[in-house]
Each structure stands twice: as structure tokens, then as C-alpha cells.
Symmetry: C2
């Protein structure tokens, strides 16, 4: 058994697994289906992953780490006004959500299938990401750009954004950036620099 995290083969297998998990759901996806999609036999799968659970954890970890990197980059790149940072964060969120779509759909739908250890590890990643959001929301509240309770506002915003995976059509006319800007416009009250 290999089970080292950095293997490039493992990355590719994780990507394929994410796709199947989205199509079929985690429980309905059998190790035999995964193996076939990867062009190997089911037994060989356990050379790369300790068990089926670990594949799920790998998929979610991959997606969440990317989200963190992209969000931090976006915040570092934009100027420091609350409005700019809010826009940047919303755009970054949708960018990850829709480029790493499979991984994020799995994270949203199959989170509860994680065992205790994996969930503990991944919770930290997710919390780090959500902390970025609360920071940006706080700044927006301080400048009176948005009204309400910091906790509620951040939940509502993340809900609205995460929900997009259910209806957004990448082949359609709207770009992710347009979506992000529309959402920000909807919730900002006074000095909305659009």
C-alpha cells in the first residue's frame, strides 16, 4: 500500500472519483465503478487509498484547499475598500465553486458520510475559509455597506452562493463574475461601487 498524499496519480484518481460521486452519490458509487473509471481493477484501488472513505476525504480536501488559496489570492490582489473586498470574495467563491464544481458538490452533499477523524481535519479547513468571509462581512458592516447581524449575513450570503451549484448553467449567458456582482448589488445599501 502506498497511501502517500502527494502522488500525482492519486490526484488524478481523486478527480475522477469526484466526478463519479457527483453523478451517483458516494454510497451508490462502488469501488468497482471507481476502478473501471480509472482503468484499473477494483483491488488495485486500495494501493492508492486505504479505504473508500479516504477517497471521499481526498476529494473534499482537494476542493477546500483550492478554495482557500483562491480566496486568499483574490483578497491579496484587490484594493482594501470594503466594497472591493466583498466583490473579490464573492467572485472568488463562485470561481472555485464552478471550476472545482465536482469537489464542492461532493463536499456539500456528502459531508456527513465522512468518518469522525476526517471530519475533524476538514472542519478546520472549512472554518479557516469561513473566517475569511466573516472578516470581509465585518468590514462591510462597519462601513454600513450592508445591514444586519454578522453571523446571519455571512450565512445568508454563503447560502445564496452555494445554492448556485443547483441551478447555474456554465453554458448559459451569465458569467460567474456577473452572478457575484448581482448578489453584492442585491445586499449592499449605500455606497455600492459597482
Amino acid at each position: 500500500m502506498n497511501v502517500m498524499n502527494a502522488s500525482p496519480r492519486r490526484k488524478e484518481l481523486t478527480r475522477l472519483a469526484a466526478q463519479l460521486f457527483v453523478q451517483e452519490g458516494f454510497d451508490r458509487t462502488t469501488v468497482r465503478m471507481l476502478a473501471q473509471e480509472m482503468g484499473i481493477k477494483s483491488g488495485s484501488l486500495f494501493h492508492h487509498f486505504r479505504d473508500k472513505q479516504e477517497i471521499l476525504a481526498a476529494v473534499i480536501e482537494e476542493g477546500t484547499e483550492n478554495a482557500l488559496v483562491i480566496a486568499r489570492d483574490a483578497l491579496a490582489r484587490c484594493d482594501s475598500s470594503a466594497s472591493a473586498r466583498l466583490h473579490a470574495m464573492a467572485r472568488a467563491h463562485l470561481e472555485t465553486l464552478l471550476t472545482d464544481r465536482n469537489a464542492h458538490v461532493v463536499a456539500l452533499y456528502e459531508w456527513r458520510r465522512l468518518d469522525t477523524e476526517a471530519r475533524a481535519h476538514l472542519s478546520h479547513l472549512r472554518d479557516a475559509y469561513e473566517a475569511l468571509w466573516e472578516e470581509v462581512i465585518d468590514e462591510a458592516l462597519a462601513e454600513d455597506l450592508v445591514h444586519g447581524d454578522r453571523f446571519l449575513v455571512s450565512r445568508f450570503v454563503m447560502g445564496a452562493l452555494n445554492w448556485t451549484v443547483r441551478w447555474y448553467d456554465p453554458e448559459g449567458t451569465r458569467t460567474p463574475d456577473e452572478l457575484a456582482d448581482e448578489l453584492v448589488a442585491m445586499i449592499t445599501h449605500s455606497a455600492s461601487t459597482r
Copy 2:
């Protein structure tokens, strides 16, 4: 086999199934677990439901029908200003979501496990419900209470509301009505009657 929809026993079994589906997920819930929870043997289950899929469909149908009834009632009961109707709709949405919580969590998480026929039938119910939302959103847009595209605004709002099942704590300090009003306040711009 009975398989008539109106049986009172069936209603009770559906309620229990919803609870188990939330706890374990549809795929992980075995017919034996369902039967035990209902105090019968697994074979007897198929007297009430044709197959496992039909239990899932029954759970979701139940929840969606209730949502429709509650929303229509709320709209009929409130006065006809766009603001009042928006508040009423948001409150009604959260009311169903949190009283019929199990059924709605199942509907949100396990929708994709429905077979084609069930999905077609239930899609109509869901569309009827969403049509109510779009109507109310249209009125709010017409009065300049909310800014943006009708399609996007309704998706964002429903996303924010549906997301609450992931974090809302009924034992906490906030009431569903407070939540609804906070959301409306967040998205309304000019004549927000709060």
C-alpha cells in the same frame, strides 16, 4: 399489497422514514432499519410501499405539499403590499422548513436518488411552489423594494433560506420569524417596512 396513498398508517410510516433518512441518508438506511423503527418486520414494509424508492417519494411529496399549503395560506392572509407579501413568504418558507424539517432536508439532499417518474411528478409540485416566490419577487422589484434580476434574486433568496437547515438551531435564541425579517431587511433597499 396495499399501496394506497391515503392510508393513515402510511402517513405515520412516512414520518418515521423521513427521520431515518435524515439521520443516515437514503442509501445507508436499509429496509430493515426502517422496519425496526416502525415496529414491524422488513417484509411487511412492502405491504405499504411498492419499493424503497416509493418511501423516498412519499417523504418528499408530503413535505412539498405542506410547503405549498402554508405559503398560499400566508399570502392569502397578509395585506397586499409588496413588502408585506415578501415578509409573509419568507416567514412561511422558514416555518415549513423548520417544522417539517426532516422532510425538507430529505428533499434537499436526496432529490437525486428519486427515479425518473417520481422526479417528474414532484418537479411539478416544486415548480408550483417556486412560482409563488417569483410572483412575490416580481412585485418587490416593481416597487423598487429590491434590485436585480427576477431570476437571480429568487434563486439567491431561496438559497439563503434553504441553507438555514444546515446551521439553524431551533433551541437557540433566534426565532424563524426573526431570521426571515433579517433576510428581507438585508435585501430590501428603499421603503423597507420592518
